[in-house]
Symmetry: C2
Subunit: 129 residues, 2 copies
């Protein structure tokens, strides 16, 4: 896959998340996918996403920046949402928060095999001060 | 600059930081450089770095992952250090912490013009619990 194809595939993955088509996750996520050092596989990855959208019902992934060098992609994702209760240990309790996630993915055979994600917790804390 | 040249330039920038050659920062950082939405310029950027190494005397930037698509670069940087006092609002007080920063840079004319950085604050909090 060249850079353009990989970026296209990544955008399809993000659309899958935003449309909550979690049954299709196996198209985009490898069977032994790892996330921040933990092996999740497709099932664990899906469980993580289901927990995320349970905790943040209006969660929408917006791609702000995309840097593509196959087999890796880096993205800056932006969120504007209302976490229902606790989020990253912060008592958000339904308030609106805007924050970013800088995240790097490695792909294998067109599917995500590893994810290194950092969420801007400090930005959330600053907004709620 | 192609991807290889840009990556080479980025590694030279990181070496400049690790060797504390801040007088040379203007070779790598644009005069109107922005960092997380704030215009710092070279002087403001240098002041930020000098504050960082004051707060963390043993700060070393280690490139763990590098994704290069000119004019942008994304990196996962790893740190293993002893912040002297407060760091990101956390009372580290000289204890050892390991953490990552996922950071995206835009280059213009071979110099950094914009930076979007997120530090894994949660990882630090978890280590100090």
């Amino acid at each position: 896959m060249d850079g353009q194809e990989l970026a296209y595939r990544y955008r399809a993955y993000i659309a899958c998340l935003n449309e909550r088509r979690f049954d299709e996750l196996g198209l985009y996520v490898s069977e032994d996918a790892r996330h921040n050092g933990r092996t999740l596989g497709v099932d664990g990855y899906r469980a993580m996403l289901e927990r995320d959208v349970h905790d943040i019902p209006d969660l929408v992934f917006h791609i702000e920046l995309l840097i593509c060098e196959p087999p890796k992609i880096a993205a800056r994702l932006r969120f504007d949402c209302h976490p229902a209760g606790l989020f990253l240990g912060i008592k958000v309790n339904g308030r609106r928060v805007e924050f970013c996630e800088n995240v790097i993915y490695e792909f294998r055979d067109g599917r995500i095999s590893e994810v290194w994600s950092v969420i801007d917790k400090q930005a959330i804390e600053t907004q709620l001060e």
